[in-house]
């Protein structure tokens, strides 16, 4: 066991996956000699060589497209897109090919690949470096989408993503890369995809989120506890497939739900969760569902970034509204 930051946990999972399976390859911009701009692939070129860690030219669409060809041939490519804001040119490859290769060949060709990318804001970055595109990917049939919120879940979820027989989009919260450290056992044990994680039990309301927002959610839950309001906190972790049962079970107990995400409100993934809760657990609800999200604006450039980011105050206000609802 050692204390790892989230980006170090990603690195440890990549190294473990490459150690255990010679089919695992890393490709992307600056992933080799530079070890990735966030050092997620640091040391892998030296350990595994240029046959397994490939610096690509600057061409995101083809990083995804080449991965599909490699995957169809039985490799397990882990492609890095340097920032999620540059993954949009990959969406053609992801929607039209990676997601449906299995289905359109009725299982003859498959696409076990991972598209990793740092995502989200709060790092005072250049324009286009702070995007939260998870709902776009979650909308694509045939894709799985996972977002870790801690070093240990980053390690375990990434291992499971790499071992998964289908394409997984793995969005790493940039803001958490170095923000926290925790004990992570490099024990090759995966955290299962498709499962939500109950981070804190509570009887009064449910607050759920994913990725970097889990920090604010947990802090809000602490503050609420001081007011004798017990919030149950759920890290959704895998957006697709969604573990509805855990969420519905929690709402059945608490009757109140606050959904938190950094991406814009409209058609954000919170809308999907709210719709599922409404259609299957509306009789459990004691108050309207609240969503605390980014606005339907552009992700602002760094000086205005704080105006946009959901914060503890916003989560507390939403929690108090659902608690006050008669």
């Amino acid at each position: 066991m050692s204390e790892l930051s989230l980006v170090q946990a990603v690195n440890a999972a990549l190294k473990r996956a490459m150690d255990e399976d010679s089919r695992v390859l890393i490709l992307g911009e600056d992933v080799g000699i530079d070890g990735g701009v966030f050092r997620a692939t640091d040391g892998l070129l030296k350990t595994f060589g240029s046959q397994r860690v490939l610096d690509t030219p600057l061409a995101e669409a083809s990083i995804a497209g080449v991965s599909i060809g490699l995957a169809a041939q039985g490799f397990r490519p882990v492609a890095e897109i340097q920032f999620a804001g540059f993954a949009y040119t990959c969406i053609d490859q992801i929607i039209n090919h990676a997601s449906r290769l299995r289905s359109r060949t009725r299982g003859r060709l498959t696409c076990s690949m991972v598209l990793r990318s740092p995502a989200g804001g709060g790092i005072k970055a250049v324009e286009h470096h702070s995007e939260s595109p998870e709902a776009m990917f979650a909308h694509i049939p045939g894709i799985k989408v996972a977002i870790p919120s801690s070093p240990s879940r980053a390690y375990g979820l990434l291992l499971s993503a790499i071992r998964d027989p289908d394409p997984v989009v793995f969005l790493e919260p940039t803001r958490l890369y170095r923000a926290v450290r925790e004990e992570v056992a490099d024990d090759a044990v995966g955290v299962p995809l498709g499962r939500c994680f109950m981070l804190r039990p509570g009887r009064d309301l449910t607050i759920l989120g994913w990725g970097a927002m889990i920090r604010e959610v947990l802090e809000a839950a602490d503050r609420l506890a001081a007011e004798k309001i017990e919030a149950e906190v759920i890290d959704v972790a895998t957006l697709k497939p969604l573990d509805s049962a855990t969420i519905l079970g929690s709402v059945a107990r608490t009757g109140r739900l606050v959904i938190v995400h950094e991406a814009p409100l409209t058609c954000g993934y919170g809308a999907e969760i709210a719709a599922r809760v409404c259609s299957r657990a509306i009789t459990s609800l004691l108050a309207p569902i609240e969503r605390v999200t980014g606005y339907d604006t552009m992700m602002p450039y760094l000086r205005s970034e704080a105006y946009y980011m959901p914060n503890v105050a916003g989560i507390l206000a939403a929690a108090r509204r659902v608690m006050a609802y008669a």
């Binding site: 497209g65 060809g69 490519p77 490859q93 090919h97 289905s103 009725r106 003859r108």
Partner: protein, 357 residues
């Protein structure tokens, strides 16, 4: 360097009348091989004709004929080893048939049934790629897999002239060049991307010269000369197998048909232009050569036609007699293991489909 100094070579073995106009490659000295190529061209044309007829009578989906361009994919596929991987766009029926995709699978596919992509023969060949040019990076990935495993295999990727305008084309050629992967890119340069003519597609005097910027060889070949296409692709494959990297081959041909059965080319091009190109079409050319070489006569021609006709009719009947998949099939191969939420949707669809099927 001016464009006139680019020095893009162009290969032709048979002229448009079927007379020898270039060096005869080794395979073409074997009459059996020539007859095999001729039969493949005929089979492709008979298949195209039947497919269009089925579409016109409401028994097939929208269909992209390869009329006039048969030699491009047949020639490319004939140059390949069975263990190579074919990465087609959607007008390469001839090449797919050569590779061992069955007529029934092709009918099933164009009839709207994904089982047509579950090739019993060439298990690693890619299915058709409908979003133009987006399959070129796949060919690079496949070829990279061969190189990484140290295998003497190659990927052969076909696409139209329109695809050369896409970013995928530039990205794929560039990557293939850097990594020297065994990938051969063949342009079915048929003059038209639906209604956009070659002149409006690119100001470059040849599309082959786009290889130069990627640092890989580029050349033209007469795409209506199946012997030349096969020879040029064979040469590129031999080079690739030696570790010398990818090539771009522009097979210059002409789309004698509409873009697809949903298209009406008379809206944008003159019949006179089409008529001018008919004399150069690939079947007559090879047949004239076979006749002049003493390998062919009317009886043989009729036998091949009859053989291809009955194979196509038999396959069409089998396709038409194949019931659609059950509703569960659209759910069952989305993932290796359908997640719970998909199983719930499958239940709903199964109930609702009872009124549909």
């Amino acid at each position: 360097m001016s464009e006139s100094e680019l020095n893009i070579s162009s290969t032709r073995v048979l002229d448009s009348e079927g007379k020898i106009g270039g060096t005869i490659p080794t395979f073409a000295r074997d009459p059996a091989e020539l007859l095999r190529l001729y039969r493949a061209l005929v089979l492709t044309r008979v298949f195209d004709t039947k497919a269009v007829a089925l579409q016109r009578t409401g028994r097939l989906g929208t269909y992209a004929s390869s009329l006039g361009q048969e030699a491009v994919s047949v020639g490319a596929a004939a140059a390949m080893e069975p263990t190579d991987v074919f990465v087609p766009s959607y007008r390469e029926h001839g090449g797919q048939l050569w590779r061992g995709v069955t007529l029934k699978e092709l009918f099933l596919y164009w009839g709207g049934d994904e089982r047509g992509n579950d090739f019993a023969g060439p298990r690693e060949d890619f299915p058709n790629c409908i979003p133009v040019g987006s399959h070129l990076p796949h060919a690079v990935g496949i070829a990279l897999a061969f190189r990484l495993r140290g295998e003497q295999r190659a990927a052969v990727c076909l696409f139209g002239d329109g695809a050369t305008s896409k970013g995928d084309f530039a990205e794929a050629l560039n990557m293939a060049g850097i990594w020297k992967v065994p990938a051969i890119f063949v342009i079915n340069s048929n003059g038209w991307a639906i209604s956009v003519s070659r002149a409006k597609q690119s100001a470059a005097s040849t599309l082959a010269q786009k290889a130069i910027a990627a640092g890989i060889p580029g050349e033209q070949v007469d795409g209506n000369d199946v012997i030349a296409v096969r020879a040029v692709v064979e040469h590129a494959l031999a080079r690739a197998r030696k570790g010398l990297g990818p090539s771009l081959i522009e097979a210059v041909t002409y789309r004698l048909c509409d873009h697809t059965t949903a298209d009406d080319a008379s809206r944008y091009r003159d019949d006179a232009e089409v008529s001018r190109h008919w004399p150069a079409e690939p079947l007559v050319r090879l047949r004239n050569f076979l006749i002049s070489a003493g390998h062919w006569d009317k009886a043989k021609e009729e036998a091949v036609l009859h053989d291809c006709d009955s194979a196509v009719e038999r396959a069409a009947a089998e396709y038409l007699a194949t019931p659609p998949e059950p509703v569960s099939a659209i759910f069952d191969s989305v993932y290796a293991e359908p997640p719970g939420e998909l199983l719930e949707q499958r239940e709903t669809a199964t109930v609702l489909a009872q009124g549909v099927a």
